[in-house]
Symmetry: C2
């Protein structure tokens, strides 16, 4: 691309550094900003800079937070005995959106994946183990993505807790609501057969 | 979406104001920034704010520019007698990328579209007419999108210049290179039949 303005070019290049934003999209975004009042771009820039400078990670659950301890961990109406282990912040937001979970979270910051060079030490597993002993956690719910890396992480942490009296569960895996049997892969279908539920409990959930 | 951090939420909302960026994409972009060093976000924010504050529109061609007169208009090696009329800045960048045009541009800032409330007065048509008389322009090449609005604008401006001795052309419309006849719409196909070219001139271009 050939620009008549180096200011424009720099702004486009900065936008194009973001994941999933190519040069053409970046140009569209910058031209949109140019069309809007100057104060809006200033506010956009200030909001981003302030967010990056002031955002913290909760010292308990490692979720992003405005304060030392996030508002989920410091909420006294939530059950501190149940901790849901997730891979990243996006998973916390997804589960919170269901409004079905009233415990706390623990954000691992990734999953064990030797091929990507991610071992247990890069994750917040030590903090989780420390927290379980400290805070008298009774149940650990794993809500990791259903793949090899998720399962490896699940097995690694549960092995570490073998000696510890704690209930360990994982979210149900099976055919998604609205999904169709014929398009489900074999592994999902096989697992959902193995983990079949009595109809009585299914009906009671409705 | 339910956020544990209002700093995060504000940044996501700001990103989601951009065209084509939804909340989920905005969240992905903000979480990407959080993972990068803080200086990078600061630089991103500074670049955007500076661009918006300092960018100018060329007083001759209305293209974006760092200076009063853009570097295309002030380039002495370009032919000032040929002016290519385009709808917006993106079209200038597209034509410049072909490296086939050595004249100047004129950015209309849109096309006449009564349905969208855009009349001739909202465009830079007066500046164009003034410029044609002032700078002794010999040829005006219209490179507008081939639709009703583009054609209306083309006819409006050419009518205004009826009395003026100037060559007015428009970029060729026809089947795109690599396109297939059977998928072309009737109007394009009909026009490309009407505007058929002698094979001799086609071969000489190869």
């Amino acid at each position: 691309m050939s620009f008549s303005s180096s200011l424009l070019e720099q702004a486009v290049n900065e936008f194009a550094k973001l994941p999933g934003i190519g040069k053409k999209t970046a140009l569209r975004l910058v031209l949109h900003l140019i069309k809007q009042p100057a104060e809006e771009t200033q506010f956009f820039a200030d909001t981003l800079a302030r967010m990056r400078k002031e955002i913290k990670f909760c010292t308990k659950c490692c979720n992003v937070s405005d304060t030392e301890v996030c508002n989920i961990c410091s909420n006294i109406s939530r059950k501190k005995q149940i901790v849901c282990v997730v891979e990243n912040i996006r998973d916390v937001i997804a589960i919170e959106s269901t409004q079905q979970f009233n415990g706390l979270y623990h954000v691992l910051g990734g999953v064990i994946s030797p091929l990507d060079g991610v071992g247990p030490d890069q994750l917040t597993i030590e903090a989780l183990l420390h927290r379980i002993k400290e805070d008298e956690v009774e149940e650990l719910i794993f809500a990791l993505n259903p793949n090899i890396q998720g399962d490896t992480t699940l097995f690694y942490i549960s092995k570490k807790l073998k000696e510890h009296p704690i209930k360990i569960t994982t979210i149900a895996r099976g055919i998604a609501f609205g999904g169709e049997l014929e398009y489900a892969d074999e592994l999902t279908l096989a697992r959902s057969l193995q983990n079949r539920q009595p109809v009585a409990s299914y009906v009671s959930m409705k």
